[in-house]
């Protein structure tokens, strides 16, 4: 018979083990991708899969010789950060008005915004392509910034709205009594309080923009193509390509993975936000 203390210890160990198992399961594909990137094409295709092998850098050297990685990476940085910045500039005032000046249509407006995410993107490919063509936005970084902003805006508004709703209205009223304008209210009071929540919204938008492949493949050719287009260029229907594809995928993931690692504190804080009350 276990004592209460022993029971708790056992529970902690079991939960810890489970958490590790889940984490390792989630991480395994990424681990395998990194491992494969150091294999030769024959080793990458070997059955049964090889865990131990002689590592090689030939895939990375091949990518370096064939593609201008930094051109694609720079495009990814510009469009991800650009669309996130533009998205936040629109999402914060929208969420502010919805959270603090709620009308009877606020809820349905929010739901309507989110419903635009339910349409399969390919359904609007031709109209968007024609609009981009007419406005000269095809294969431009600005065009991608616009489309990514539009894609992520509903989620950004929802997230910021949720964080703003957690903030007691009294704090804003106090600021108003002190003579703050609406802009000062947002800039001086709201943003500092909800810093953690906003940081996680920014991070999510960055990750979504960084990984977006459908629009980046369809709306770019050479000059504005981001890393997702580079990854797509290494998949082949005729010929062995897994090792090279793994290497280029590792290179494409690396910057955002490092960025996420560095900002995990803000992300966790954002996710557990709500301690204001």
């Amino acid at each position: 018979m276990l004592t209460l203390k022993q029971g708790r210890q056992l529970q902690t160990v079991l939960l810890g083990t489970l958490a590790w198992l889940v984490a390792l399961t989630i991480f395994f594909p990424i681990f395998w991708m990194i491992l494969t990137s150091f294999k030769t094409e024959i080793d990458a295709f070997a059955t049964p899969p090889q865990l131990f092998f002689t590592p090689t850098l030939e895939n990375y050297l091949h990518i370096d010789a064939r593609s201008d990685y930094f051109h694609f990476a720079w495009n990814s940085v510009v469009v991800s950060f650009g669309s996130t910045l533009l998205g936040m500039l629109l999402a914060v005032p929208a969420a502010y008005s919805m959270a603090f000046f709620e009308t009877k249509r606020t809820k349905s407006t929010l739901l309507w915004m989110l419903s635009t995410k339910m349409l399969p993107p390919v359904g609007v490919l031709v109209p968007i392509y024609l609009i981009f063509k007419d406005f000269g936005l095809l294969d431009t970084k600005f065009g991608l910034v616009l489309i990514y902003t539009l894609i992520n805006l509903p989620i950004m508004v929802w997230m910021v709205y949720t964080y703003f709703k957690e903030i007691p209205k009294d704090i804003l009223e106090a600021a108003r009594l002190d003579g703050a304008t609406a802009l000062q209210e947002i800039y001086r009071v709201l943003l500092p309080i909800s810093k953690g929540g906003l940081a996680s919204t920014v991070l999510l938008s960055l990750i979504l923009s960084w990984n977006e492949a459908f629009w980046s493949l369809n709306l770019t050719a050479s000059s504005a193509a981001p890393l997702t287009a580079l990854v797509a260029s290494y998949s082949s229907p005729e010929g062995l390509f897994w090792a090279k594809l793994s290497a280029v995928s590792t290179l494409a993931c690396a910057p955002i993975l490092i960025f996420g690692w560095l900002s995990q504190k803000q992300l966790v804080r954002g996710l557990s936000f709500g301690a204001v009350k």
Binding site: T47, R66, Y129
Partner: protein, 437 residues
Amino acid sequence: MKQRLIPSLLVSSMALASLGAQAATVTIGTVNNGDMIRMQELSGAFEQAHPDIKLEWVVLEENVLRQRLTTDIATGGGQFDVMTIGMYEAPIWGKKGWLAPMDNLPADYDLADIFPSVRNGLSSEGTLYGLPFYSESSMTYYRTDLFEAAGLSMPEQPSWDQVRDFAKALHKPAQEQYGICLRGKAGWGENMALVSAMSNAFGARWFDEQWKPEFNGSAWKDTISFYVDLLGNYGPPGASSNGFNENLALFNSGKCAIWVDATVAGSFVTDASQSKVTDKVGFALAPQQVTTKGAGWLWSWGLAIPASSDAKDAAKAFATWATSKEYSQLVADKFGIAAMPPGSRASTYANAEYMAAAPFAAKTLESMDRADPDDSTLKPSPYTGIQFAAIPEFQSIATQVGKLVSGALAGSMTVDEALSSSQSVTEREMKRARYYQ
């Protein structure tokens, strides 16, 4: 001062504008495979010879590229100046006026050197719309060591029945040695390429002379029953998810006794850097059955210029260079003679050095010679194409039929159910497209 400044600014801007007009940028959309990547690597030589032309590359996987190019050309997007397209797209897009004709080619290009079947496949109503970069048929690869050990002998062109008997004799799954590897992954360019060529050999056709599908006929039933039985019993596990690459990996690692697939695989299975069976591979023609017509397929990747391109002359200069004899020689010098783009030019196969260096070349040439997209079925058919019918609706129809055939192979439905559904799907699409009422 101001009066002088304005004319001088005007002159400088005009000079800059003329510089800009001289340097044409050619954006090339192409697929990711060995031959195309070599073309990208060697393109520096073209840019050196044409300092007024700058090349930009968009390399994508075949299906992604097809969707990307289709969107661009159908909307007149003008994002590409050279498009890598296949025998399926070239005549359809050419007929719609989406492509610039490939006429007035330089005299030394020697168009007559290109195989007539390839030339015709990239043309519509006698007008050429794409210059072939490389072309392929299909053939049978087999392991000479296993055949020898089992006392078997592969004919020049086996029948599918013979292939089944060989596969049965050499199928040893306990030793991870499978009798036959064939495409099973669903897709009009995947399993349906093989199954369509196989159906031709069994005497089937996609459509009768009135464009009515024939999946409810005995020829299709014989084909699919045979295919499911052969691959299901003597193929590797999970064959319904194997495409070209998966089978290539299986064959190269010594796990397939026989493999029927594209002739372009000849250079992969004999390449020591990726194959463990380089010196144990034999080559035969694609299997026949009740007929030899259409038994081996025909495909070509060509370089075409969209009508929406604003740099057509520069694009044509590049397309002619990349498909010329001069380019083939450049590849031979840089990467070895066996790496020359196969299947397009008769002169490649007249080169004794190439024939000696590429053990698969003789069978590739014979397969290419036999492939005739205008006469690929036992009974007459209204379409051109061997493993496809060159009509816009085919891609959608064959994708759906491919899923049904793959389902029958995986055991999720019977052959009869797959054929009956294929018939109704195809009838619906053809009626909708008003081929008949």
